[in-house]
Symmetry: C2
Subunit: 128 residues, 2 copies
């Protein structure tokens, strides 16, 4: 199952590695947020609506592990921890921004397609 390497969709493909790590909405949102300016933990938690502190911690750890953000601790009392973007992370964030622009430009088309799809499905339902 993991012994193949015959195509771009094989489990060993770099694309798969990357997607396994960062292809979830919280990672992308956190990356975009930190890219715009360095942030502290609770600032991020407040800004990224709906994320729990546990998931935020996990997300930040994963981004840090992949070298996309940096974590720096200032020895104050109480300690203040700041997350900042790395060059590698910034180059990725640039693409995320492109996606943001795309989503804003095309959200109407997507919503229209959704309501169209849902409408035809509800018709099918009423026939059952």
């Amino acid at each position: 199952m993991t012994r193949d390497s015959r195509g771009p969709f094989a489990a060993t493909c770099p694309t798969r590695h990357l997607l396994d790590q960062i292809a979830d909405k919280w990672s992308m949102l956190a990356l975009i947020a930190i890219d715009s300016a360095p942030r502290r933990f609770n600032a991020l938690k407040r800004e990224i609506e709906g994320i729990s502190q546990k998931v935020l911690t996990q997300t930040l750890r994963r981004l840090e592990r992949n070298g996309l953000i940096s974590r720096s601790v200032a020895p104050t009392v109480p300690v203040s921890v700041t997350y900042a973007i790395t060059p590698l992370g910034h180059s990725l964030a640039v693409m995320m921004e492109t996606m943001r622009t795309w989503s804003i430009a095309n959200i109407d088309s997507i919503l229209a397609a959704q309501s169209c799809y849902d409408h035809s499905r509800s018709e099918a339902q009423s026939l059952k």
Copy 2:
């Protein structure tokens, strides 16, 4: 919780809508695959290594619902179902391709960062 609209990370932001729908690796992989050429169900299942038919079905339904791919049924016996990219889906797939290129170019940096991170963590472990 859903009544806010005060920033780019609010739950109502178009970016959030998009990410909620397509920010998972299976959606992205399926979109890339179908973008390169129209495919049939089992062809996709064979090509996208590791996906189950249940998840593939769910993924294709979601992409179809969002107007990113089209599903056409040929009334043969047995039926043959073909999935193709839409103009909207293609414009998104172009960005996915950009990410693919990026991941290939930067996979080494990420793997290096990972092993560096893991190494420093294992040191911390041994001190406990």
